[in-house]
């Protein structure tokens, strides 16, 4: 059977000792940044991206970066439960009931439930990924330029529809990102665009520099402007294992959340944060005693934790099959592929099977490592919070500089980090999120290339996007998504989804 062969190939690749080591390194780093508030997985991956350039084996690099991503989901929940301090945004929901459980002396159970839920969800989502990815990739191979163009449009629009914040500003950020992507020499004519005679700009902006700037540096500036006090109410962790009744209580929530998370993870823009909020809302609604939520409901921990982990895994599907990153972290992963000289897309599956299946298998291995790493070492992770921010942030700045510079030994890239750091911060301050900007920047060249190629093939006839059936359907979906987002009534409903946790 195909699936088993593929998985066997994946595991033989992922179980090579250096790949296991990088996987361990990734999940350990991920847990660390998940624990520390103020630096998230996006910034960390952005900062480590340049370093992976030096790796000989692309598989190791991608395994490590992926490990950081789902490792952070675990770490974030640990501090959310113990300290009511979500280190990572998707863990905010876990904090509600998780911390209540900790205060009632059930910290150990809450941690164990979070770990078990995440592990089950991660395992199921890995299988979903393994089953769905080849099918989608095969479908994507029949796509022409017109279809790709429409797909990118749909992806960009959908990412706004599911994100929080102002729709208008998100749209503007996407367009701005695409515009930044056009900087440099035009790929058809070689004409320099927006370079103002600066030779260093002919190759366009460095993706890593932009990402490190708008996520890493801007995040530091934001934290420096808003020093939050850290509460230290470490509850003692005892009695790790849940009772049989408690285990029975979480079966339903974990399974529901896994399904929900797997589905939402695939959608652009949503990902793990949306998944955990949605799961909490669902569990509250189906619960026999909803009054329990907010006061230490075990389902309120198991659900969101499973959902965000499942979503973290399945958000790899659009990247591996279509070459479309569903969220900023996936945009960075796409960057990691490109740094290694591989273009993510439907061909990767057939051309680099060892890499893709190794990555998929490593996610399951990573989940095992996380359980082993997290439950016994909880105390260690919590103690990490005592690293003062006054040491942490200069270190991040320095490592960001060195990392970006080492990529191509080009000081201009570092200068771009400085500019985009301040720009990103100003944008955040004005209520514009940097995530759509980065998505636009990554997908922009793809969008332009396919638009122009499709128009060349059709001899300038723009109706080709509507008359080709798949392309037309995709564009129609994009229009529907946009209309739904803009309609005020439905928008209010969207806010309710995000405010459900009160």
């Amino acid at each position: 059977m195909d699936l088993l062969d593929n998985l066997a190939l994946g595991f033989s690749e992922a179980l090579q000792w250096q790949n296991v080591l990088f996987c361990l390194l990734g999940v350990a780093l991920g847990t660390a940044v998940g624990v520390l508030p103020g630096i998230g997985p996006t910034a960390t991956i952005a900062l480590l991206l340049p370093i992976t350039f030096g790796f000989d084996d692309p598989t190791s690099a991608l395994i490590m970066l992926a490990g950081i991503y789902y490792g952070a989901q675990y770490g974030g929940s640990t501090t959310a439960i113990l300290l009511n301090l979500p280190g990572e945004s998707s863990a905010a929901v876990t904090a509600i009931d998780g911390h209540e459980m900790a205060r009632a002396g059930r910290a150990g159970v809450a941690l164990a439930v979070a770990a078990i839920g995440s592990f089950v969800a991660g395992t199921v989502a890995t299988v979903v990924l393994a089953v769905a990815a080849p099918v989608l990739a095969r479908a994507a191979l029949s796509f022409g330029s017109a279809e790709y163009f429409s797909l990118v449009v749909l992806g960009l629009i959908a990412s706004i529809a599911l994100a929080s914040g102002s729709t208008l500003k998100a749209l503007a950020m996407i367009v701005f990102g695409i515009l930044l992507g056009t900087l440099g020499q035009d790929m058809y004519t070689g004409t320099p665009r927006f370079t103002f005679g600066v030779r260093e700009l002919y190759q366009g902006l460095n993706f890593v520099a932009v990402a490190v700037g708008v996520f890493g540096i801007a995040e530091i500036l934001r934290n420096l402007h808003d020093p939050r006090t850290r509460t230290r109410v470490v509850s003692r962790v005892a009695n790790l294992w849940p009772s049989r009744t408690e285990l029975r209580q979480i079966v339903g929530p974990v399974l529901r959340a896994t399904g929900l998370g797997s589905l939402l993870g695939v959608l652009p823009g949503g990902g793990h944060i949306l998944a955990s909020y949605a799961s909490y809302a669902v569990e509250k609604r189906v619960s026999r005693n909803p009054g329990e939520f907010g006061h230490g409901a075990i389902a309120g921990v198991a659900g969101p934790e499973s959902a965000n982990n499942a979503a973290a895994q399945t958000s790899f599907i659009p990247l591996l099959t279509l070459g479309l990153p569903a969220n900023p972290v996936m945009a960075l992963m796409a960057g990691a592929f490109i740094i290694q000289g591989i273009t993510p897309g439907p061909d990767v599956m057939t051309e680099q099977p060892a890499l893709v299946w190794g990555l998929i298998a490593s996610m399951w291995i990573g989940n095992v490592l996380l359980v082993l790493l997290n439950l016994p070492l909880v105390g260690l992770w919590v103690r990490m919070l005592s690293v003062p921010y006054s040491v942490l942030f200069p270190a991040i700045v320095v490592f960001a500089c060195i990392g970006t510079y080492s990529l191509s030994q080009n000081p201009y890239d570092v200068l771009a980090v400085a500019v985009f750091g301040v720009l990103g911060f100003v944008l955040i301050r004005s209520g514009c999120e940097p995530a759509p900007l980065l998505l636009g920047f990554v997908l922009g060249p793809l969008l332009e290339d396919n638009l122009r190629r499709a128009l060349l093939l059709s001899r300038g006839d723009p109706t080709v996007f509507v008359t080709r059936p798949i392309s037309g359907v995709l564009l129609a979906l994009a229009v529907v998504a946009l209309v739904v987002t803009v309609l005020p009534m439905i928008r209010r409903k969207r806010d309710v989804v995000f405010a459900e946790d009160e």
């Binding site: 503007a172 808003d226 200069p394």
Partner: protein, 145 residues
């Protein structure tokens, strides 16, 4: 379809979106009541009834709240590295960058910033040159390295 086609189209769309955003800000500011806090009071007005962390939400405070010191210091820190890494080399560049960055936080004592900068220069040498074997000059041409 020339090289300017897509940028021009994007520019027009962006300008239109910008105009709408500006107009909307005058007609109906989109600050929700619980998020419309003036600067300085952000942490005191609504302590914890919103559990969504700010990591993925835009900060509703106006640009006026931007502090000069951290912003300039961080920009200078990264800029310093860009301008000196080739000339001075890795060690002096990381030292300067670390120092400038450490000073970004209001109330940092100079001695402590110095200690952080020295530590960071040594740490970057250990991590990037010794461990990761990146080929970076420790001291640059300007210093005769």
């Amino acid at each position: 379809m020339g090289p300017g086609y897509v940028p021009l189209a994007l520019g027009l769309v962006l300008a239109a979106l910008g105009a709408v955003i500006v107009a909307k800000a005058y007609v109906a500011p989109d600050l929700a009541p619980d998020r419309a806090v003036s600067d300085g009071e952000a942490s005191t007005t609504s302590p914890s009834d919103r559990v969504i962390p700010d990591a993925d939400l835009p900060d509703p405070r106006p640009l006026a709240g931007i502090q000069w010191r951290p912003t300039a210091a961080i920009f200078a820190a990264v800029g310093f590295f860009a301008l000196t890494v080739d000339g001075l080399g890795l060690l002096p560049a990381t030292f300067g960058t670390g120092l400038l960055a450490a000073m970004a936080r209001p109330g940092t004592r100079p001695l402590r910033a110095l200690a952080v900068a020295v530590g960071l220069a040594l740490a970057s040498w250990l991590i990037f040159v010794v461990l990761l074997q990146l080929r970076l000059a420790l001291f640059g041409d300007w210093l005769g390295g």
